[in-house]
């Protein structure tokens, strides 16, 4: 009889210990995984939370700047001069980012096979519409491209997609305006410092001189 009572007491003790252990583990998990304030959160959730247009983005640590033009040329699938004719912002599938898709009218293929008139370019950052609100997604140091503007892009193809994207983000983008090359990347970096303000044809000749065109 006393054995049965002892067994019952032992079972009760085990149950309490188990409950305590589960509570401790659960609390530990909750504490260990503090919710992010912005990163990875759904833009829909952020819009609902703020009740107004929102602007989000990622910080200034861009891709490492290429040390010379040969690096940019060597890593590109395509180098094109042309004009952006269309732009459209869209949400990523998980609704945590906004991407911009562009139609790019090719004027000159500097590297790569002929692309037949237009190609599609995509990049992180843009503007989209969600629950009646405008969502702007910025990438610091990587401004939006603008339709009707002429650019030289150093591009790489995205796997399993028709889209190309600028190599190393802003470092692969050069606006051509007023007969001058305006690098999109910060002007102190080596390639912008060397070619910013030069004539576009001079820049194209420098690309050819790298000897990496095929």
């Amino acid at each position: 009889m006393s054995g049965v009572r002892e067994l019952a007491r032992y079972n009760r003790f085990t149950r309490i210990t188990n409950v305590l252990l589960i509570t401790l583990v659960f609390t530990g998990l909750v504490l260990a995984q503090q919710k992010n304030l912005v990163s990875g959160r759904s833009l829909r959730e952020l819009v609902r939370e703020s009740g107004q247009d929102i602007t989000v983005g990622i910080g200034a640590e861009g891709s490492r700047p290429p040390q010379n033009l040969s690096t940019l040329v060597g890593q590109s699938d395509l180098i094109l001069r042309g004009i952006i004719t269309e732009e459209r912002g869209r949400l990523s599938q998980d609704e945590t980012e906004v991407w911009s898709d562009y139609v790019f009218q090719v004027i000159e293929t500097i590297r790569g096979r002929g692309t037949g008139g237009t190609i599609r370019i995509t990049r992180l950052g843009g503007v989209a519409f969600l629950e009646g609100r405008m969502v702007t997604y910025l990438v610091e140091g990587y401004p939006f491209f603008h339709p009707k503007e002429e650019y030289i892009f150093f591009l790489r193809k995205l796997p399993d997609s028709d889209f190309y994207t600028p190599l190393r983000g802003e470092h692969g983008c050069f606006l051509l305006r007023d007969g001058r090359v305006h690098p999109v990347a910060f002007p102190r970096h080596p390639v912008p410092r060397q070619f910013g303000g030069r004539a576009p044809q001079e820049f194209v000749r420098a690309i050819a001189r790298t000897g990496l065109l095929r």
Binding site: S39, G59, E61, R64, R156, H171, H182, V184, P187
Partner: protein
């Protein structure tokens, strides 16, 4: 028409004639003082920084020191940090809040490289950063306190509007870029007076940035443009309609003509 009415009309015409050029000039001078302005600003007031207590003690203390080292750089922003290792980033809604933790920093677009540290942010309706997550790559945390201190101080410098810069040389700024995640000995881990002066000057000349803007850095002259983009939005997405370009460099724009 009585002479009085006539006089009033002449005055009115003269006022209008003078008003627009003067208003234009005032705008011109306010633009001319801006100079090269980075895009981000932390919301003025008290910024509450929550450092993840799961960081090892040395790294936790280094992160706290990094945050506190920016206090006094500008009277617009002060930082408080959870030195008691409290476990949640509590904040009144009016304050800005930054969470600092180990994690994969947001990767730059078009690259497979992961930065040593970076942040995601949300701006308030005035265009200032109100919330941010600052991530330190595990390799930075593993490298020790100095690397963590540099990473946190450098990123907060960006949030305060400072671009990557070398005030004089690598040892005299915390905003120097291009360091490996395990920080070399010669690197500075606290903001120099030069870094603080830049932040102070920036906040002194700050304006509330318009939404949907980006600054363009042009050529070697550090000219800066303000671009405001207009979009047509439907439930299917937004299409760019047009942009206005406004010159904000050291030159003056007057009645739309920049010289």
């Amino acid at each position: 028409m009585t002479p009085t009415t006539m006089t009033r009309r002449v005055y009115l015409a003269a006022s209008l004639f003078l008003f627009f050029p003067l208003a234009g000039m005032a705008q011109c001078f306010s633009q001319c003082t801006l100079g090269s302005t980075p895009a981000n600003t932390l919301k003025p007031g008290t910024v509450r920084v929550w450092v993840d207590p799961a960081l090892p003690p040395e790294q936790f203390n280094a992160a706290v020191a990094a945050v506190q080292s920016w206090n006094g750089a500008t009277s617009w922003v002060s930082f408080t940090v959870n030195t008691d290792r409290s476990t949640s980033p509590t904040t009144p809604p009016s304050d800005a809040v930054i969470g600092v933790k180990q994690g994969t920093p947001p990767a730059p677009p078009g690259s497979t490289e992961t930065p040593c540290a970076n942040y995601s942010f949300q701006r308030d309706s005035q265009g200032n950063i109100a919330r941010a997550d600052l991530f330190l790559d595990p390799s930075v945390v593993q490298a020790g306190g100095r690397s963590v201190q540099f990473g946190v101080a450098h990123e907060i410098g960006h949030m305060l509007g400072s671009p990557d810069t070398d005030c004089q040389d690598r040892s005299s700024t915390v905003m120097q870029d291009g360091f490996p995640c395990a920080l070399p000995e010669e690197a500075r881990v606290t903001p120099a007076q030069c870094d603080k002066d830049k932040v102070s000057q920036f906040y002194a000349s700050r304006v509330n940035p318009a939404q949907n803007y980006q600054y363009y850095y042009y050529g070697q002259c550090y000219d800066v443009y303000l671009v405001t983009s207009y979009y047509w939005c439907t439930s299917g997405g937004c299409t760019h309609m047009y942009s206005t370009w406004q010159y904000l460099g050291t030159q003056c724009c007057f009645l739309g003509i920049c010289g």
